[in-house]
Symmetry: C2
Subunit: 341 residues, 2 copies
DNA sequence: CTGAAAGCGCTAACAA
DNA sequence: TTGTTAGCGCTTTCAG
């Protein structure tokens, strides 16, 4: 447990070369003779030398670090993204600095923290920026890509899915199945995804001459969704179909519906989710849901971020990807000829 | 998108003070007159100044950054830990640098990367170090805490559960329930957790006069566990009880058993898992499992790491916490008087 | 309490 | 190709 700290000087001394020779040896685009390099490498090995990234960052003004901000990792959808992002950036030679933020209140502090850490880009998973925050980051000239949340600020990139369309499909599908008491289980009511999914859903219902029967709020979380479901089904006119703003809540709802209200899915109640997390396909859930192309989303987001870092004049983009309905066992089978979108 | 970069000099100039005054103002233990501080703060605000963490780290030789290495985030057990760790360290003023490593092969590169980044501590989730790696880190004097994996190297701290005891309980419990064709579903056969759980299990069986009937390997993953389960149950003498090395695999097994082999859990097959991830308690799984005290584990680990950073003479510790059997619906009810451990 | 000066470990001109 | 020389933006003595 000796606190040493081998510097390039030490290596230079041992190798009998200048300190810059050492630096060059450890620089990607070296211009060093093989002889020098060999000497340096040997000395470095002997001393256990490793270049100090911090010092390097200070002078090159590039930390090769990305800040990833997550809201919660409870949802496998985001832990999957995080994992993928981690591998992608590592492969590109970037490090990931992980931040978590509960809400966009108090995010000011987190943002301040991020800005001090000299990251070269920010990837936000399901978190948004308010106008001041957006202005701040833009002013700093640091690229941001927001996944699954929108922000009304040109200059900030975002990657999301067609939430409206997904909601719309869900609405029409449930009506087409003959449901009439159709409820919506919100995530966070002020999140853009929730707003869009809900709007699409309501419009989908309307397009079939139906309307929203009831709704609850599940905060995109399991336990909260269970609670909301209890409220919904304790009503004198409980829903016969439910569209939840994400899979985690849809599954929570199914658990409550089946185990606490002794209703059957899909016989008594149809349930549709959103995301298509791996779990949704497990036989015991068999959740009909709207698939978001996670892989594509994270790829587009990470590539976009890198592009903006490498070429600061790359224009920010708002990318919207299509969702795909995944028909599984949690909704009734169509009874007869309904023409569905 | 202007690439500025306000330094303490700029602030000093505007505030009409020296650059050191600015530095002091932004140092936690400042010794600045209120008048100066006020001037500095005003100038800083005006310019949007934020101290450069990198420069600070270089001179203070402390990055206030912890490296967290994860194996996979598919298992909610670890994504939960990561989230908790993130919040804890943030609260302590530390940043988290996220690394992922698939196996301990090729971990050399990751370790090299970590060492270069001047982190002050390393937290490893379900990944271990080989002797060389352990020696290397110790030599660098950088504290490491390994969660859920052991390493034969004094000087490295580890936090884990009594895996042997957990396996032992599972073994005895299944036999006591009258099972005789008892199988084990391995995670990664060379992981310490798997080795210990299996050993405890086998010994538990033996203590009741039973022996392992069969086993499979599920790599701690869902899909792999499904595959292993298929093999196990396609046998002419399929198991009537299964102990899986983690919950994810136990759930995978139940899915396959029920949906593909049309067997009932627990009537035809009893299943026991390990971890007690939140999902295990969901009614549709209702998995009997051995609870690891995640909260405690992560607390102990993070506190230990911090202690070792703050006081380098803090001795490394090997912490083993007890596991708690959680009896749920995935195992038969005891039929008669069995005396269980 | 404040400013001047000396670096932290490294990269990047510039000369040799 | 190499060594020499300036710093990167900050903290930290050390005088004043």
């Amino acid at each position: 447990m000796k606190k040493k700290s081998v510097t390039s000087h030490d290596v230079a001394r041992l190798a009998g070369v200048s300190q810059s020779a050492v630096s060059r040896t450890f620089s990607p685009d070296a211009k060093v003779s093989d002889k020098t390099r060999k000497k340096v490498m040997e000395a470095a090995r002997q001393l256990g030398y490793r270049p100090n990234t911090i010092a390097r960052s200070l002078i090159t003004r590039s930390s090769r670090t990305i800040a990833v901000v997550v809201y919660s990792l409870e949802n496998p959808f985001y832990s999957y993204m995080l994992e993928k992002a981690s591998r992608f950036f590592k492969q590109q030679g970037y490090h990931l600095l992980l931040f978590s933020a509960s809400s966009s209140d108090g995010f000011d502090d987190v943002l301040d923290d991020i800005l001090r850490s000299q990251v070269e880009g920010i990837l936000m998973l399901a978190i948004t920026l308010n106008d001041d925050q957006a202005a701040l980051v833009c002013d700093y000239g640091i690229p941001v890509v927001i996944i699954n949340r929108t922000v009304d600020y040109a200059g900030i990139s975002q990657v999301a899915c067609d939430n409206f369309q997904g909601g719309y499909w869900a609405g029409r599908h449930l009506v087409s199945l003959g449901h009439r008491r159709i409820a919506y289980l919100s995530g966070l009511v002020d999140s853009s995804t929730d707003i869009q999914r809900r709007a699409g859903f309501v419009e989908g219902l309307a397009s079939m001459g139906a309307a929203l029967h009831d709704s609850g709020i599940g905060h995109y979380q399991y336990t909260s969704a269970c609670q909301a479901t209890r409220l919904l089904f304790a009503s004198t006119t409980p829903p016969d179909a439910l569209f939840a703003a994400n899979d985690l809540m849809a599954i929570a709802a199914m658990e409550v519906i089946q185990s606490e209200f002794c209703l059957k899915v899909p016989e008594d109640v149809s349930v549709i989710g959103f995301d298509d997390v791996p779990m949704a396909a497990w036989p015991s859930h068999s959740l009909t849901t709207l698939q978001q192309p996670v892989q594509t989303m994270i790829m587009r987001a990470t590539e976009l971020l890198l592009a903006q870092i490498d070429q600061p004049d790359t224009p920010p983009q708002q990318i919207t990807l299509p969702v795909t309905p995944m028909l599984r066992g949690s909704v009734r089978r169509p009874s007869g000829d309904v023409n569905d979108t």
